[in-house]
Symmetry: none
Subunit: 200 residues, 4 copies
DNA sequence: TATGAATGAGGGTTCATTCAT
DNA sequence: GATGAATGAACCCTCATTCAT
C-alpha cells in the first residue's frame, strides 16, 4: 500500500482526479491495455504526479476496487429483518444488487480480470463475499426457525450456491450479455432463490 | 487461422510440442505473463520455430482453446436419453462435467481472463454454451412431457440458469477455491438442479 | 508528422542532437544499415529518447531532408536579375549549387536511395525541382526577350533538361566520382548551359 | 561470385527460373523488401534450392544485373560507322537506348538503389559506361575529323556530359516521371546532343 | 539436386519508472 | 507538490542461412 504524503487539499484533489480518471480509462481500455500515461492524460496531470499518489497501476487499481466495492455493496442496506416476508426481502435485495452491478459492469470486467492474475484481489473479493454470505445464511436460518424454509436445507450451502449464482448471472447478463432490463432479471433471479429455498 | 505450412511428420510433431508447452506455460504464468520465449524454451525449440506454426501468442491460445474445449466437453456424451431417470442423468452429466473441468481448471483460468480481453473468445465460448444449453433444454422439455417436471418451468430459462450456475460453481470450487473432491461437489450441484426443476 | 511534444529548451536541444547524429550516421552507413541504436549512441542518449522526438527512422529522415534541402537550396539566392550578363549569372548559380551539393554529397546519397523506396520522398524533391525549374525558365524567357537567346529554344524544355543535367553531373562527380574541384566543374557545367542556350 | 555446381540440364533450368523470378520480385517489391522466400515462392522451388544456385540475394542481383545489362545495351548495335549522317546516327541510337531503358525501367530502379549501397555495383555500371562513352568519344572525334563537329569540342568531355544527361533523362522520364512516349523523348534528347555538338 | 523445418542473432518499439528542474 | 524528458530493460517478430532427409 502506498502511504504517500498528499495531505494538502490540492493533493487529495489530484488524487481524486487520478482515481476517477483511472476508473474511466480502465473501463474503456481494460486492465492491461490501460497505460499510466493514459490515466494521467485523462486526469490532466503529468506522469510524474501519478507516482506521487500511487505506487503503480496495481496500487491504483486496489484503491479503486475498495472505492467501487463500497459503492456497489453499500447500497445493499438491509431493511428491518423480519419486518417483511422472505420473498419480498429477497426480491428487494436482488433488485438492489442487480441495479448496482449493472451500473458498474464495465469496471467489474476489470475486477474479474485482476482477480485471475493479482494474488491479493481474490482475497479482497472473498472477504466481501463472506460477509454477504453470512448475512444470507443468517436470514435463511431465521426463515427456517420460522418454519418458512424446509429444515433439510443447509443454510451455509444454500447461501454459497445462491450467492455464486447471483454473481454469475449478473456477470453473464450485464458484462457479456448486454442485457438492459432490471425488472425481469430481478424476477428470474428471485424465482431461482425461491425455488431453491422452497419458498412460495 | 494461420497460413503456416509444416506438412511433414516432424513438423506436426513440433507443433504438438509447442501446443503442449504452451498449455503448461499458460497455466503456470497466465496469458499475459507468458512469453513466447518461455513457451519455446519449454518446448525445446527456438523462437523462430514458434512463428513457423503460429501467428502469435493469441493464435496459439485460440488453437489451444479449441483443443481443450473438445477435451472438456467431448466427454459429456449423453447416455441413452430416457433410458434412465432424470435425477440419475443429471447426476451423471454433472459428475462428468466437474471431473473434466477440474482436470482443466488451471487452463480455464486463462480462458476466463482471455474472454475478458480478446474479442473473439467470448464468441467461441458462447457457441459451445448454446449447444449444451439447447441439449439441457430439450431434456427438460422431455421430462415435462413425461410429467416429471412441473409444466410452469420454462425449459429455456431453466437451461440458462442451471448452466450458468454449474459453470460458476465449477469455477469457484476448482479455480478459486481449490476444492478437491468431486463426489460431494456433484451431490451439491445435482441437488441444486433437482430442487430447481422440482424433481424428487 | 510526429505528434511528440518536448516543448522545453532541453527537449529541443536533445532533438537537435538527434538530428545531427542522425545525419552523421546516415551519411556513414546509409539509410538501411543505420540502426536507431547507432543514432542514439552517436547522440549520447538512450533508445527511448529517440521515440520521444521521432516516430521512427523514416520520420527522422524526412525531417532531416527538409533541413538539408533548405541548407542546399537556400544559398541559391539570385543576385539582381538582369543586372549581370547571362553567362555570368549562370556561372555564379552553378558555382553556388555545386559548392552546396558537394558539401552535402554524402547525405544526398541517402536521399537518392530513399527516393527510390519511400513513396513521399520523390514528391518532396519534385516540388523543389519545380521551383528552381520555373526560376530558370523565367530567366531564359527574359534572355530571349532581350535577344540574347535564340527564339526557337523552348524555355520550359530547356529548363528541364539543364536542371536534370546539372543534378546528374553533380551526382556523378561528387557522389560517385569523388571529384574534388569546384572551379573546373563549374566551367564544364556552365559551358554546357551556354552551348545549349546558344549564349556566348 | 558463386561457383556452384548446376551442371545438369535440370539444374540450369532451375537457375533460370530463379533469375526470372528474382527479376519479377525485385521489380515488384524493390531490392530491400524482396525476401529470398518471395523469390523462391515465385520460382516455385524451395528456399534451400536458392542457396544451391546463388550465394545470397546480392549474388543473384549481380548476376541479374549482367543479364539485364546485356539485354539493354546489346541492342545498341552500331550501324556501319560513317555510312549515315551524324544526326541520324545519334537519333537512332537514342531511340534504341530509350526504348530498351523504358522496357527495363522497373528493374533499373533497383539497380540505382543497389549502386548506392553495394560497393561493387557502381563498378559494374561504370565499366559499361566507359565502353559506351569511348564509343561516343570516337564517333565525335570522327565527326570532328570530317569537319562536321567544331574542333574546340573536347570529345571526352562531350561524351561524358552527353552520356550522363542521357542516362539521367531516361531515369527522370521513365522511372520517376512515368513518361510513356518514345518518339518525342527521342526528339528532345537528340536535339540536346545536336545542340551541344553544334550539329545541324 | 531438391526440400522445407529449424535456427537465432538482430532490430524496432513500448512503457513503467526516475529525477532534475 | 507538480512537471515531463530521459531511461533502458524487456519483448515481439523477421528472415537469411543451414542441414537432415
Amino acid at each position: 500500500m502506498s502511504e504517500r504524503a498528499t495531505t494538502t487539499t490540492q493533493g487529495s484533489r489530484t488524487r481524486g482526479a487520478l482515481l476517477r480518471a483511472g476508473r474511466r480509462v480502465l473501463e474503456r481500455k481494460g486492465l492491461h491495455k490501460a497505460r499510466i500515461s493514459d490515466i494521467t492524460k485523462e486526469a490532466d496531470v503529468s506522469v510524474g504526479t501519478f507516482y506521487l499518489h500511487f505506487e503503480n497501476k496495481d496500487d491504483l487499481f486496489r484503491q479503486l476496487l475498495i472505492t467501487v466495492e463500497d459503492e456497489v455493496y453499500g447500497e445493499l442496506v438491509p431493511a428491518e429483518p423480519g419486518s417483511v416476508d422472505p420473498a419480498q426481502r429477497i426480491r428487494e435485495t436482488n433488485r438492489l444488487y442487480l441495479t448496482a452491478f449493472k451500473r458498474n459492469a464495465a469496471f467489474w470486467t476489470c475486477v474479474e480480470a485482476a482477480a485471475l492474475e493479482q494474488p491479493d484481489v481474490p482475497g479482497v473479493l472473498a472477504e466481501r463475499n463472506r460477509y454477504y454470505r453470512s448475512r444470507t445464511e443468517r436470514a435463511i436460518a431465521r426463515w427456517q426457525a420460522a418454519g418458512q424454509v424446509a429444515p433439510e436445507v443447509d443454510p451455509a450451502t444454500a447461501a454459497f450456491l445462491l450467492g455464486a449464482m447471483t454473481e454469475r448471472l449478473a456477470y453473464l447478463w450485464y458484462v457479456f450479455g448486454h442485457r438492459e432490463d432490471v425488472d425481469q432479471a430481478t424476477e428470474d433471479l428471485t424465482r431461482l432463490w425461491l425455488n431453491y429455498l422452497g419458498l412460495d
